[in-house]
Symmetry: C2
Subunit: 350 residues, 2 copies
């Protein structure tokens, strides 16, 4: 029996409605196991800009720091979509949150669920049995380097990586590999980039500490092909921020639906759990948003709190929903269930 503070950042679009289902499931877990989860809800993204002018209010940041874990929905609103140059944008809230909370590792498991094989654009025999996890560096690289315009009108973005930035996430990835199929693949562009050469050096230096883990090195262009032609070859994939953004979204097609993919963004003190899908504003309030990615993010949150039996139970309940086709319309167009119904079904199984 534990008591844990969970900060909820539902955000925009379908964020609030999928978060609600995750909370429902966490409530069921608390009841079943006699835990106490104390939820508090905070603004982030477009709704935070509307209310406060700031996509990440100080109050929200403080609440994240005070919490044992953070559950995040999604951010983004169409009114900002066509203007990536606007001064204040929802994404800035996300990027600042990562930086301020030191969320240096974004962890994304990708599984090819049997029940969803037919939904993937990839042929079933290529993806069946895929079980990989991507470790994307999240607070460094070209995302956070100096950027701007020169007097001659040219633009620049600088990409920098320090050894400690690489060491900390590489250690996490090695540990994960050691607990899984003992295979780590570093994705880089070491034939062109100096930062990639540093990534390779650091990973090579750390490798002897994880002597049972086999390490492979793959150039990012090749990885972009391999991950869809033969995803089963991968166990743990480690990469820098920008490559991770691209490769992890690409890999999401393996699952057949973005609506099923959870993620964790972890730092030294705080960890944030969120579905990888966006705010999908067109679906807002229609009851058609798939809550399973948010629910599986809650399962990762439980693991993070050390509640592994609880996490396993949530995953089993999700498997029940998949097996019995208790699914939202994108996965079950003929006999669809609503967001609420899918959430309740999973909660019921806890």
């Amino acid at each position: 029996m534990v008591t844990k503070k969970i900060a909820l950042l539902p955000g925009d679009g379908i964020g609030p409605e999928v978060c609600r289902q995750a909370v429902k499931v966490l409530d069921a877990v608390a009841e079943r196991f006699g835990h106490r989860f104390e939820f508090s809800s905070h603004l982030v993204g477009a709704c935070a800009i509307d209310a406060t002018g700031n996509p990440l209010p100080d109050e929200t940041l403080a609440a994240c720091r005070a919490a044992d874990a953070v559950l995040f929905g999604a951010i983004g609103d169409p009114k900002y979509d066509n203007d990536p140059t606007a001064k204040v944008r929802p994404e800035q809230g996300l990027l600042r949150m990562r930086k301020e909370l030191g969320l240096f590792a974004n962890i994304r498991p990708v599984t090819a669920y049997q029940a969803l094989l037919k939904h993937s654009p990839l042929k079933s025999d290529r993806i069946e049995g895929t079980d990989l996890v991507i470790f994307r560096e999240l607070t460094g690289g070209i995302y956070f380097g100096e950027k701007g315009r020169n007097a001659d009108g040219s633009a620049y973005d600088n990409c920098t990586y320090s050894r400690p930035e690489i060491v900390r996430i590489a250690n996490l990835a090695f540990q994960s590999a050691a607990s899984r199929r003992k295979h780590l693949t570093l994705v880089d562009k070491a034939n062109v980039l100096e930062t990639s050469r540093l990534w390779r050096e650091v990973v090579r230096e750390l490798a002897p500490q994880y002597s049972d883990v086999t390490v492979d090195y793959l150039f990012v262009d090749n990885a972009a092909m391999q991950i869809i032609t033969n995803p089963k070859q991968f166990d743990v994939v480690l990469t820098e921020n920008m490559f991770g953004d691209i490769i992890s979204d690409e890999a999401s097609v393996i699952a057949g639906s973005m609506g099923l993919l959870p993620s964790a963004s972890v730092g030294a003190e705080v960890a944030v759990f969120e579905p990888i899908h966006g705010s999908y504003p067109q679906a807002k309030g229609k009851g058609i948003a798939n809550p399973l990615a948010a629910i599986l993010s809650a399962a990762m949150l439980l693991d993070h709190l050390g509640l592994t039996a609880e996490a396993a139970l949530v995953r089993e309940a999700v498997d029940e929903a998949l097996t019995n086709q208790i699914l939202t319309p994108e996965l079950n167009p003929t006999a669809p269930y609503t967001t609420e119904q899918v959430g309740s079904y999973v909660a019921f199984w806890i």
Copy 2:
């Protein structure tokens, strides 16, 4: 009847053997149409390092400059593969060639050939009918920015783009779109990168000059999903160097085989035509390398020389080989033909 100088840079691995088939086909074209193609062969890549210590000897560069077009094979040798930090590497020859010859636009058409649908990892109904072309900027961005190490051991790579660098390739891409299905998609990361915001600005400024072309903007992570889930939505895709490297290799899986994809790298004065596949050293000398990508690169070369009827004939001959399954083992494992045989068959049809 024309006389043209073609510089051959066969390179390493299977480069020479596939180039030979392209030359065979060009010879057949010359005979049939009464043209004269003067070929000269030059070193590049690992073989150039072995012979001269330099992956791109001055003699080779001078020959490219003096030629009407360049046909390139592939570069790379396993002895350099595991050491991207080696001082002299085959890739440096490629990168220097691009820079020295000012090859600012890499153009890659991607077609889903009916006869090859079964070879793609993607489901046929998703890719059937795909006909897109990627314009990748090739001499700027993070590839050619300042890079190095700082005193504290950190590494950096700078990404810079000037307006003129973007304008010249954007104009090419717009012109291509105007002659095709009139749809241009800019792939960038304008929600994070300043260089991407400049790309968007420039493309927006140019758009009114091509008023019949519809322009879309897609973030690169989304593009990495879209290009495999729904490739038919694309006509012309325009992007910067690093994103183009990743997206174009990813898109190659649509064709079912790297062995079929040609490319052109064009500059203000010289243009280089090359298959997108690598040097595939394991296959060298075995007669199993697919020469069709090199042959289709020769077709692009003919187009570039203004010989469009000749180019069309080469493509028809390749279609004959595909329809009649006169293909190397990766595409026809049960009744394979050799590299030489496939080349001769295509030449025969000219």
